[in-house]
């Protein structure tokens, strides 16, 4: 068995892994290796042939594959080595990575630092407890996207979509453009889980109805889907008897949430947040296991890839500092608390000494708010209060904490981020 050593091993060659590796290399660490389970770099972006990527990063609208191509080109220019079709099987707390592929077989890699960038998976039908038969024709939206955009095959012709996550919305338009009839999108919650722009561009522009507070309660068809039964739900998300409508279709696409894929992180003993399903990290995006960093959708599910790249670059820089021994000692960390209306924050802890002059804290809200305030509290004192016209769970929010805040509040133990409606 081959045993190699590398300064930094990046698990995953999607947008997060690429940006992290590039930033690490630019920070002066030469020995960075990317392990990618797919047949090419770029990850799930390769099947995202729609536009809307890169507005923040490049100031222009790119397709997902174009966005990936820019990062791949940069990684190639920097000469960052990568292994494709390579599956990481295990990571120990001592950062020994076991991986396998066709040519190297099972290999062991000792890493100075590990950057977790494995992305996420879609919540499958089984996890949704939808009753009915289990025929062909039920796809998670991303699987359908792969079949259409990469393989060139149609998953079906008459489609119902459950869940208004972004991939579901994108696939509503994509399937329509390919000649399928998308009958409706049902969303369990009273609001969409996707971006506003996707609702407009992918549903409204094609007259596809979005039924909020609706779900699928039954699936018909023993071999292939023949119909689904859609019903309205009450405020407790329970179907309301008598509201059922049977929609004939041959396909049910599911876009009901993304789950950070952290089985590997768990093998290393990384502590996970029950809210995000991703690692609990500090200001350096370092997990509870020293020298193991996390970024992108494996850390928490993002709405825009631009933010993934930004976050991943920070992870790459910090991993570089870690292996070069350039990190200053952090004192007692400040806990970051998700207060009213805030589901979680990334990071969860901040060592002010390492936070730099500006630290971006990302979070999601728990409900839809109009004309509400995003507030930052140090103890009882509100130190930041910013009005937002709309806040929605489908969109990631952020606040920026400055070094001045930490300097003005020495000995701070907790910072709370919360939403205030008046």
């Amino acid at each position: 068995m081959t045993v190699t050593e590398h300064d930094i091993v990046v698990i995953g060659g999607g947008p997060a892994g690429l940006a992290a590796a590039i930033a690490a290399k630019k920070s002066g660490v030469n020995d960075v290796l990317i392990l990618e389970r797919g047949g090419e770099l770029g990850g799930i972006l390769n099947q995202c042939i729609h536009n809307g990527f890169g507005l923040h990063t490049f100031g222009e609208e790119l397709t997902g594959s174009e966005y990936a191509a820019r990062f791949i080109a940069e990684a190639e220019e920097l000469g960052i080595p990568y292994k494709l079709d390579t599956m990481a099987l295990d990571i120990t707390p001592e950062r020994v990575v076991t991986a396998v592929n066709r040519t190297d077989g099972v290999m062991t890699i000792k890493a100075g630092a590990v950057i977790l960038a494995m992305g996420c998976r879609e919540r499958p039908r089984g996890a949704l407890n939808i009753a009915g038969f289990r025929p062909a024709g039920i796809f998670s939206a991303g699987t359908a996207q792969r079949l259409v955009n990469i393989e060139g095959y149609m998953p079906g012709k008459e489609v119902v979509i459950l869940g208004s996550g972004d991939i579901g919305l994108i696939m509503a338009r994509r399937m329509t453009l390919e000649g399928a009839r998308v009958k409706l999108v049902a969303e369990l919650m009273p609001y969409s889980g996707g971006l506003k722009r996707n609702i407009v561009q992918c549903l409204d522009d094609f007259d596809i109805p979005l039924l909020l507070s609706h779900t699928v309660v039954d699936i018909e068809g023993k071999e292939r889907v023949t119909a689904v039964v859609v019903a309205e739900v009450d405020e407790n998300r329970r179907p309301i008897p008598g509201t059922e409508q049977r929609i004939s279709c041959d396909t049910l696409l599911l876009s009901c949430g993304l789950l950070p894929e952290n089985e590997l992180s768990q093998s290393a003993g990384v502590e996970l947040s029950p809210v995000t399903g991703g690692a609990v990290v500090n200001e350096s995006l370092e997990t509870s296991v020293g020298g193991v960093f996390a970024c992108g959708n494996v850390l928490h599910v993002h709405d825009l890839v631009d933010y993934v790249s930004e976050e991943a670059a920070l992870a790459g820089e910090n991993a570089a500092r870690y292996v070069r021994g350039e990190r200053c000692e952090g004192g007692e960390p400040i806990s970051l608390r998700a207060g009213n209306g805030v589901r979680y924050t990334v990071p969860s802890f901040i060592a002010p000494e390492r936070a730099g002059d500006k630290l971006t804290v990302r979070f999601r809200v728990a409900d839809v708010y109009k004309n509400a305030f995003v507030c930052v509290y140090c103890g009882d004192e509100c130190v930041q209060r910013r009005k937002k016209r709309v806040l929605a769970p489908g969109e990631m929010e952020q606040v920026v904490l400055t070094d001045r805040l930490f300097a003005e509040n020495p000995g701070l133990s907790e910072i709370t981020i919360k939403i205030e409606t008046a």
């Binding site: 592929n101 077989g105 009915g132 289990r134 990469i150 095959y153 071999e223």
Partner: protein, 478 residues
Amino acid sequence: MIYDTIIIGAGVVGCAAARFLSAYLADVLVLEREEDVCAGTSKANSAIIHSGYDAPNGSLKARYNVLGNAMTEKLSRELDFPFERRGSLTVCTDPSRVSVLEELRMRGEKNGVPGLRILDRDEALRLEPNLADGVVAALFAPTAGIVCPFKMTIAFAENACENGAEFRLNTRVTGLYREDGLWRVQTDRGEYTSKTVVNAAGVYADVLNNLVSERKLRITPRRGDYILLDRAVGGYVRHTVFPLPTKLGKGVLVTPTVHGNTIVGPTAVDIEDRESTATTADGINTVLERSSLSIKNLPVRSVITSFAGLRAHEDGGDFVIGEPDDAPGFFNCAGIESPGLSAAPAIGEEVARRIAEKLNLKADPDFKPERRDILDPSKLSTEERNILIKKNPAYGAIVCRCEGVTEGEILEAIRRPLGARSLDAVKRRVRAGMGRCQGGFCSPKVMELISRECGIPLDEVTKCGGASRITVGRTKEG
């Protein structure tokens, strides 16, 4: 061609019968309406080998359960399917009903079940720390076990096949009659003739029986809903944990599987439609609620799928095994509800023996009792695995990330005799698509491998045969 035996139904009982018959010099044909073996009740059950205390004394259920349980360990070695004797706990949550445990223990002893013991709460907790707070005592049955029903059935089928039994899949029996001392089996793919017939037709076994015998049977499909939990919460229970049995069955159990998942179920609802394996919201809720009576804080958020199976409940309440007096040569294996999986080896062996006696079959001197399962590289040492990958790089390519299944395993599943032709058939053999993402990532790749290996266009690859095509054509074909 006149077959010695035609077996109708390639579930676990039909395949077990085929395997034991293939030990004789006999021409055996197995007919199965689905595209794969193990595609009916055998694929949707609790995946356990009961100890045998529950069935009434003197019943066929009791007899074949205890016999089958005793046979399973040796068979699992011969045929290389996973079986673990974990033991079961039947828990009592009502102090006034502890005596029922004693009744079960005595019944079990009469049935010939070894090692039954009644445990107080503390003793039970030592075996199973997550028992519900209300549990006051339990019946421990050390011989109970867990098994992979897919691998067990497929092992029987493959071994039968290797020893000369023929299988016709996608072949539905449409009629059956006796003529000139022979049986004529009509199917949607032509007529077959045999000296004897084994009726292993599951929920349709009464229909077949009633075509040829006046000893009428009536089978009611009894639907059971189940949920399956992620391997990530494996180990939450170590034994099969039952509540006290009721008239409708053994209740909602919680059990580990040989693959590290946790199964919870089943419900028991009598229905009319013999095809209705649809789960219901009520059923899933019932499973979730009832499980909490025996196991506390079960991590039900880790559910990865739910399914339903149909038990073939016969009015008499017992298995119906053997020839009706008015249909010589027609061997029933009917009413095979729980403990059918546990009893299947014994039923198969018994029916094979009776047919051999009737037809004066001789033992096949070339019979190979052993069969090896598909090679699982994760069970090899790293050195062995690397030698394998060097020889065949497909074993270095992980296709199903959740279950760690390699391309090499999937190719073997497709290339074997009775090989997989659908996503579900691959899943049952090597577990690709069985994990937490439920095939979201690997299904396009598995489809491609099936398409390539079987020489069929990708859009003709199915989930489970018949009309279950995954895709409906190329893009932009209208």
